[in-house]
């Protein structure tokens, strides 16, 4: 898919909460003494943080890099599966906090872990059609893991925001094209009113994650006439440290291209922020002219695939806000008791 006019990323921002819990600490609780832990440690939102505050933080840093007035933002879309309100969009709260004024679109998206990139697609459409000048897509989550479940090791908190505008010399990267592959596949879900999601074990692999990620990637490459060797960097959705590496291998993409964007081992799976944060971390190191493949995955199920070409503006805009690694390195460890206390509050 391409919009009528080319669209680019005017600014991007990231935010990761300060708290960390080690997977080994979770393992200690449930009698898993360090065997086959899916990651090293994950980020935990503080007791007064939620998806809205995280989304705002990422958004304000994105705005700082974008260098545009908040009042020029025509849309704020947040993708998340940990909305504090089932009914009342967090997008309006973030828009107000940014000082964006009232002449804008706002809504929250749900599509499991690809809600953030779903927002990307909409923003590209709105900007490319000329309906709005700038549109912001945010992926933010404070994911809940059921105690003793496998996913408790990885369900984490974080956010990344992207301001889209027409491609220009002020965009740090432009969208070469995108596509989306969507099916009705119930690999992971959460019923309304339930505090924790459910999943079906190994069914979340081949028929779910891999089918959608690989298919979307191939669809995009075919549409754009590109091969895996044409990409300098690759970002996949990261539910754990293994899946993205395996997906890269299946596509014939060397592991090194994944590295800057592979955050899951040290911050966990930030759900709707997962591939967006990976993209932000990649933009932190990419050079003008680099081509980035980004493929998200959301259970339910679907994948959005994007090809971005980095532009010159990345060099001057990059230092205007903290890089992802500044957040990765800013950390305080908590124990399981503190984790339970913090996490309990997020369910209010």
């Amino acid at each position: 898919m391409k919009p009528l006019r080319p669209v680019g990323i005017v600014g991007y921002g990231a935010y990761i909460p300060v708290y960390r819990i080690k997977a080994s600490e979770i393992g200690r609780m449930w009698g898993n003494e360090g065997c086959g832990l899916p990651i090293v440690e994950k980020a935990v939102a503080g007791p007064d943080e939620d998806m809205t505050t995280i989304a705002y933080e990422a958004a304000r840093y994105a705005l700082a890099r974008a260098g545009v007035s908040p009042r020029e933002i025509g849309a704020v879309y947040i993708g998340s599966e940990s909305k504090p309100y089932a009914v009342k969009p967090s997008g309006t709260i973030v828009a107000e906090a940014l000082g964006a004024g009232s002449h804008l679109l706002a809504a929250d998206y749900e599509f499991a872990c690809k809600a953030g990139t779903e927002a990307f697609q909409t923003c590209i459409g709105l900007v490319g059609s000329g309906m709005v000048r700038y549109a912001m897509a945010i992926g933010a989550d404070t994911a809940q893991g059921r105690p003793a479940d496998d996913l408790e090791y990885t369900a984490a908190s974080g956010g990344a925001a992207f301001v889209f505008g027409l491609k220009s010399k002020d965009t740090v990267a432009y969208v070469e094209g995108s596509c989306s592959y969507t099916t009705d596949t119930a690999d992971f879900w959460r019923r309304a009113g339930q505090p924790y999601p459910r999943h079906f074990g190994r069914f979340t692999g081949e028929p779910a994650y891999f089918r959608h990620v690989i298919t979307a990637a191939k669809m995009l490459m075919e549409e754009l006439g590109l091969g895996p060797e044409d990409f300098d960097w690759v970002v996949f959705h990261q539910p754990n440290a293994k899946f993205p590496v395996k997906a890269a291998k299946k596509l014939g993409i060397p592991k090194e291209k994944l590295e800057p964007g592979l955050l899951v081992p040290i911050i966990g799976n930030t759900y709707s922020a997962s591939s967006p944060l990976g993209l932000a971390a990649t933009l932190d190191v990419a050079k003008p002219g680099d081509r980035i493949l980004m493929v998200s995955y959301g259970s339910g199920a679907g994948s959005d695939a994007f090809s971005f070409i980095v532009q010159d503006a990345i060099e001057e805009k990059r230092p205007l806000a903290p890089p992802v690694r500044a957040f990765v390195q800013r950390k305080k460890y908590i124990d399981y008791a503190t984790y339970v206390r913090f996490r309990g509050k997020l369910l209010r």
Binding site: P17, V18, G46, P47, D48, E49, D50, T52, T53, Y56, E57, P84, Y85, I93, E96, A97, G99, R318, P319, P322, P323, R325, A326, F327, Q329, R330, K331, K332, K345, L347, R348
Partner: protein, 143 residues
């Protein structure tokens, strides 16, 4: 009990964006907002966003909390002097008391102030945290 929706709603711009008042006549800046300038008596004051950065003057740790903040105790409250020169009382987060020293740089961050129970509205507003520092090549730890 607790703040009704209209009361916190009308405060939203000022709580989300840390706003104060500036006297159009003499330039004095105030927080919280004022309708009359204390310095020159003018009644022409405008809302202005305040600097989100400041330094810590003093802090305490609230251990006996008011009923609506009981779940957050112990929490740190500090006196922060903003770049504008105004002093602001605020919770300080993302750190322990041992991390804090008078004079250190802090920056504003939006957080939950309180939720009115599991079904009531959520009040958001500014708190402060140790300023996140970074460098182009390698980032330092922020706290």
């Amino acid at each position: 009990m607790g703040m009704g929706v209209p009361r916190f709603w009308r405060e939203i711009p000022h709580k989300y964006r840390l706003m104060g008042s500036r006297c159009r006549r003499c330039g004095a800046v105030y927080h919280p907002r004022r309708p009359v300038c204390r310095r020159c008596g003018s009644r022409e004051l405008e809302d202005v966003p305040l600097s989100g950065r400041g330094r810590l003057l003093a802090f305490t740790v609230i251990r006996r909390a008011p009923s609506d903040l009981d779940e957050y105790k112990p929490y740190i409250v500090g006196l922060v002097e903003l770049e504008d020169g105004v002093r602001v009382l605020s919770q300080i987060v993302d750190c322990t008391p041992a991390d804090l020293k008078p004079g250190m740089e802090l920056e504003a961050t939006p957080r939950r102030i309180r939720a009115h129970g599991p079904a009531g509205v959520i009040e958001y507003g500014y708190k402060f945290r140790p300023a996140i520092k970074w460098e182009p090549e390698g980032a330092e730890e922020g706290s």
